[in-house]
Symmetry: C2
Subunit: 578 residues, 2 copies
């Protein structure tokens, strides 16, 4: 529960959405969990957007209405009976609610459509498979009958990755396809079905002694912001990253083995740490986002669970330039890597300082002023370590030395704890704010160090060219050669066209400035128009050749996924790179 407001408090929605309502689909996460703005954030929003309490009196487009639509089912009764024979009658659903509930992900485009009752691209039926054999039978049937097959994991896609552009069926993996196949403590690996959720995996590993008689507790090391509502399969096929990726690596560094069902048969990779046996099949399948086949099993590295070695740190830099230079030096110092590594630009810093109340701590606020850390110039850097204790302690020390060299001020671990509190729950805020017409969304990219300033400036300039728009930027996944840049934009925006045009403009500017168009969100169907401009035509041709091989009838996630079947007119060649 948040602290009571001193002044007017909007009617933030904090009751469970009605069963069967649009809101129950669009709402983030746990149906019974809510996060509403603290009074300081509410005040900041009013101020920034020039709004008054009056603007917060009537929430709009809440989606409380029951899901109802008329989208005829294209499947025949024979199809449905065939599916029922494979997965059991209870595991085939054709009601409107089930169909819409797996049609969209969590980009603002999806949420706006749900709030406006815009129903498009729903599957004809939803299936809930429980093992890989069922999936093989489903794919074989669909290939023979040219029925499109989509997959729904945790549902947190922000790229229209799960959307059923051509109807057909969607396999909802959450319900039945979420079991541990094997845990191997000697190799430090676990093999799970693709529908396993992040929290289930982590709980399993944390409880390895009780569950498997293991000698110690383990962690998966992969904690995206969407952790609680994401799945192992989704992480893998989109090449996701967790917030601790600077230490643990992105999912492609954690996954050792995969099994896919494709129309051309099963693809089963090996699970050796390294080898020299031709092209890497794991890296061919990862990132295919369902366009080549359905990921069924994943073998992941696991790591020792040692939260006692989370040494927290936070620093304030005078300028974005100093902060970037220090970040680069930390990543190139060969001291090992911090686990959480998060550097905010000036606009994000100021907002975080207010949200975390750091400026209000008398000593901290005054000291920062006294030492010349100016609003809209200063940059907040925070993080913590993972690994063995002395390894972690050394990283914390060396980070301190580098930060001191750039005249940064140490701010203790308090801002880290504040960040940790919200790290998985901030998406709940989106729903509360959107009830009053304020939308929040994000885009992100990978940048090499030598291009960091330009990408930040170019993309930010575009974001801020829209009046009254907040643009918070940070790096949250760092490497010796570069880092991601993550843009959070917050604006008064309620119309689809407005969103689409702004979203496209940002992607255009990410591409134009020379960044990789996705560091960890994937491509899906929404980013596909920029893919050829980024990787180049000869390289995209490789994806298409593989698509043609695995899925000659184009039944696997068709409709633009990773641009393998994207119509020419949808391509956006902003900056043909080659």
């Amino acid at each position: 529960m948040s602290k009571p407001y001193k002044g007017f408090r909007p009617d933030w929605q904090e009751t469970r959405a009605p069963e069967g309502s649009y809101r129950s689909i669009l709402k983030w996460g746990d149906p019974d969990a809510f996060k509403v703005p603290k009074e300081s954030l509410y005040k900041m929003m009013k101020e920034f957007f020039g709004m008054t309490d009056d603007d917060f009196k009537t929430p709009r487009e809440m989606g409380y209405e029951p899901v109802e639509f008329d989208a005829p089912i294209q499947l025949t009764d024979a199809d449905l009976q065939a599916f029922a024979a494979i997965v059991g009658g209870d595991n085939v659903k054709t009601d409107c609610y089930s169909r819409l509930s797996v049609a969209y992900g969590k980009t603002m485009y999806d949420l706006l459509r749900l709030r406006k009752h815009i129903v498009e691209n729903v599957p004809d039926a939803v299936l809930y498979p429980s093992d890989a054999v069922e999936i093989e039978q489903i794919v074989a049937y669909c290939d023979a009958h040219k029925i499109p097959v989509y997959v729904y994991g945790g549902g947190s896609s922000v790229t229209r990755g799960v959307e059923c552009m051509k109807g057909g069926i969607s396999l909802d993996m959450r319900k039945n396809f979420n079991k541990v196949i094997r845990f191997n403590e000697i190799n430090q690996t676990i093999t799970v079905q693709a529908g396993m959720s992040g929290p289930d995996l982590e709980k399993t590993l944390n409880n390895a002694p009780e569950l498997f008689g293991a000698s110690r507790r383990y962690t998966c090391g992969h904690f995206p912001q969407s952790f609680e509502y994401s799945s192992v399969g989704g992480w893998t096929v989109t090449r996701g990253a967790g917030q601790n990726s600077t230490y643990y690596g992105k999912i492609e560094h954690i996954v050792l083995g995969q099994e896919y069902v494709t129309p051309r048969g099963k693809i089963v990779t090996d699970d050796y740490a390294a080898k020299a046996t031709g092209p890497d099949v794991n890296q061919i399948m990862m990132g295919s986002e369902g366009a080549y086949g359905i990921l069924t099993h994943v073998t992941l590295k696991v790591f020792r669970y040692m939260p006692e070695n989370h040494f927290k740190f936070s620093y304030m830099f005078h300028t974005w330039e100093d902060a970037q230079a220090a970040a680069r030096e930390i990543m190139q110092a060969e001291i090992g890597y911090p686990s959480v590594f998060r550097l905010s630009d000036p606009e994000e810093t100021d907002i975080m300082m207010r949200l975390y109340g750091i400026d209000d701590i008398p000593l901290a606020g005054n000291l920062l002023k006294l030492k010349g850390f100016e609003p809209m110039k200063r940059c907040l850097f925070l993080g913590f370590t993972d690994g063995e204790r002395a390894f972690c302690r050394n990283i914390k020390r060396k980070v301190a030395a580098i930060c001191r060299k750039y005249k940064a001020m140490y701010l203790t671990g308090i801002p880290v704890s504040a960040w940790e509190k919200g790290r998985f729950t901030d998406p709940y805020l989106r729903d509360s704010m959107q009830d009053f017409g304020i939308m929040t969304d994000t885009l992100e990219c990978t940048v090499n160090w030598d291009n960091m300033a330009k990408v930040h400036e170019t993309v930010r300039a575009y974001c801020k060219s829209r009046p009254q728009t907040i643009c918070m930027t940070h790096m949250s996944h760092a490497y010796p050669q570069g880092a991601n840049l993550y843009f959070i934009f917050i604006a008064k925006m309620t119309e689809l066209d407005d969103f689409i045009s702004y979203h496209r403009g940002i992607l255009d500017h990410i591409q134009k400035s020379g960044a990789a168009i996705s560091h960890h969100h994937g491509i899906g169907k929404m980013f596909a128009p920029w893919l050829e401009g980024f990787i180049g035509s000869n390289q995209l041709e490789i994806f298409k050749v593989l698509k043609q091989h695995f899925d000659p009838n184009n039944i696997m996630n068709p409709g633009g996924t990773i641009a393998v079947d994207l119509p020419e007119e949808e391509k956006r060649f902003i900056r043909p790179k080659w």
Copy 2:
């Protein structure tokens, strides 16, 4: 120079091989460098192989004769003129010596053939291109005229990777295609032409301040045993590993970007540290070993050059079981990784102890005996660190703690220094010993920890089933999930059939025991028969589809490379894994 012998000293060859001779091709490395067995090794060989000084009186099959053979050139004059127009007349050679000098690599199969004057699979012409445009023109011409194209880098392939099974041309990259394209200190990367040699790259990086005005010295971090006679391109296309890979990673972890010329056009990858933009094109091209196209440019990560942080360590374990358990614990401890990480099995340990003279150091030898470290049971573990100083110091300390836990005895850094002395020069010994009919070769594989004992036992049992055969085994590249096993076999063996049958038998047993058939030597043409059994038919089909796409006329390294055009009858399905 080695120490003088006290007894009979064989007539070890220590003079430069005549220009134009077979020996000048088969000899390892620098024409003026030699390495002959120390007397202790000579004694050991006599003893082990039941030989006497008499057996070392007449060297055999020395290859001092001039290269001469009759293998008609299949190219037309028009072809040769076309090549001369592209690379210049001086850079096209059709003489016998030039042709044979790029035909073979350095497996014992190659050396035996050279010693016996068996000339097969030579190219019709050798070209020396100097830039990527020339390579594009060569490939276009060859594709139009269906002329096979092979590439020769450092020439240290042990998989028949460079052999011109179908004649055609070979591009020798060493001479002209070896320049730095750009050095980027901000991103810590260097881009070079594929023919650059290991030492040239390392020297360039060590001298970055003088050459590029860099702020510090750098290292490439990649030092295979063949370092001095290997090329960046060869490392990359075969997925090689350096002896420091436990810290720096295999080449696929070091390479950030690549450019290839294929018959279908250029493939240019990006060079971002990470991204989520579909399948990884870098990992599709790496490992293609010339079967998809010719690697022209490589962008590599570079690392700080800090040899002062090489903290050396060596330990003796009582048993192979203890040593393996400790190795695994070190790699799973999350302390960072040592750089050189080398654990010898009992047979290798005993030989190293004699070669390094450790047993002869009064205190060490006696203490080892006293503490119950028994010959043919004890295992030597050695290594050193790389990275920032305190990071390195912590690794050395934690390694010590883990070794102590398994009752290992510390042996100081002396054995490491002894190993370092020979790390790049040991291959020279092969030539000396082979002059008297003793051949040395190696095979290696990747093993997961839970299968380490079985692979070691199975492969070793086969190796030792041949009478009077030395089989030294070690792990030299370690991971949290497993390590490689590297088998060195030494035997009295002078006949090709004998070698081939033994070599095949070892690969059969590597595969049967469940290891990956290559950790870093690649596949080439020699290991191709085992590839389908290892990766599975559906997975090999992917390689073939890509081959068909890039090279529809099969002109790129044809004749079995990575099994994409391997005749059915050559396949060896020892243990179909899937």
